[in-house]
Symmetry: C2
Subunit: 258 residues, 2 copies
């Protein structure tokens, strides 16, 4: 299929590469800056575009992979005059009906993964959640998704926004916990590497037991001495201290209730 890709961030880069590798024809890459558009089109093919007026009509699918804030501005501009085409966005939190009244055939392809430019992800393992407003869009989006991933599931906008929130906890906040841990270690000249076996086991555990039954540490056994002392160690960093105290309280409450 002929595809116009709007956006050149981490998700657009990884999805564009996967679509290109699957044999699809990326005819244009749109981005606000020529630098980003050119960098991505050099990898996935097509010509770089920074002017929405220069976006071609000669494509089957228009994929928008931009920040949620940019979507309401970009959607009408890209859909206008091409109402018969298929329009897709890739955002977890954005409902499908952002396209309503702008196009006839549209939907969502949300790849749930944390993409970094430095790391190549095996896209075939990435869970992709799809949604479409009609059979025609469902056919096109379903085919694109299955061409890049072995893990495709249809999901409504309503369920997807909760899924995205769950992913923010399981990935973005988890990574921030790693970063806080790394900062504490760095202040005491301990290499972050010492933490990797613990990080790996913590992730592996929840493949075989539920997170609730895997919980360990001072908060779940409510070791008040440790909690108080650790909280004091964070006294120079009030926001991290608040996070420490609320996480500890949340753990304590969850396991005394259950």
């Amino acid at each position: 299929m002929k595809i116009v890709l709007a956006g050149a961030g981490k998700l657009a880069t990884n999805l564009g590469q996967a679509l290109h590798a699957a044999g699809h024809d990326i005819v244009q890459v749109y981005s606000r800056t020529m630098e980003s558009a050119a960098a991505l089109s050099a990898i996935v093919g097509g010509s770089p575009v920074t002017d929405t007026g220069a976006i071609t009509d000669d494509a089957d699918v228009y994929i928008m992979s931009v920040t949620d804030a940019a979507m309401p501005v970009l959607v009408p501009v890209i859909c206008k005059g091409r109402e018969q085409k298929v329009f897709v966005h890739t955002a977890g939190s954005m409902p499908m009906d952002v396209f309503q009244g702008m196009a006839l055939h549209y939907g969502v392809l949300y790849p749930m993964q944390s993409f970094s430019k430095e790391r190549k992800v095996n896209f075939r393992e990435v869970a992709c959640f799809t949604e479409a407003n009609d059979e025609y869009a469902a056919g096109i989006i379903g085919r694109l998704a299955c061409d890049v991933s072995d893990n495709v599931k249809p999901l409504s906008s309503e369920a997807r926004r909760h899924l995205h929130l769950a992913a923010v906890f399981a990935c973005n906040f988890v990574n921030h916990c790693y970063a806080i841990s790394a900062d504490i270690l760095a202040r005491h000249d301990i290499p972050f590497d010492v933490m990797l076996p613990l990080i790996d086991e913590t992730a592996r555990k929840v493949h075989s037991i539920t997170p609730a039954s895997a919980q360990t540490g001072p908060a779940v056994r409510y070791d008040e001495n440790v909690i108080r002392n650790q909280s004091m160690l964070l006294r120079n960093n009030p926001l991290i201290k608040e996070i420490y105290e609320r996480m500890s309280m949340s753990i304590h409450r969850k396991y005394t209730k259950e």
Copy 2:
């Protein structure tokens, strides 16, 4: 070596098994309840004891693996009359000098791992941090540690308490983020399994890039629409909402400062 093991929790169970497998002789297992003492001594050998008065003098090493709150009570009772022996505790946050004035030879063997009774951990991979008050204790504790783990490092009490705090973030709070994620998914009938590829990639990433450069999500790109909407989804759970907002703010601040 002849070892008395005081404590029968997750850490005591895993350490006791590793010491037993390495050929050491667990002569007694002390616990407050006969049920716990008997359950562990059935696995690691020795006789179960619930009365501190029945603890034998005929051991080389006394290992205390109990909650931090129980330590100040148990240490004097176990050390008294056996001042020539070697005394060891296994707690991340407890300083070594909890033994000061109670014994002549003492120290710490802190295995930094999240132990569950349901899961067998390969103890040889567990990072063990040791400390001792003299050469004699250092020799005994170092030998025990190397007999069970290939990853032994000496560390001071002061550094260890920061290491323990870092581990609480990288393991206990990470697992709680998984649990919050699982709760959100369960409320919308989405199986937790869908999150596993994302959890695995998030853990794998920090083997090759720093957590700071691995950070993704709405907070680091400061997508205020998404943050506001996700926060609203948590309005019925004020404590989790506070955690969401503080984590998002902490991520935003970290990456706008740097």
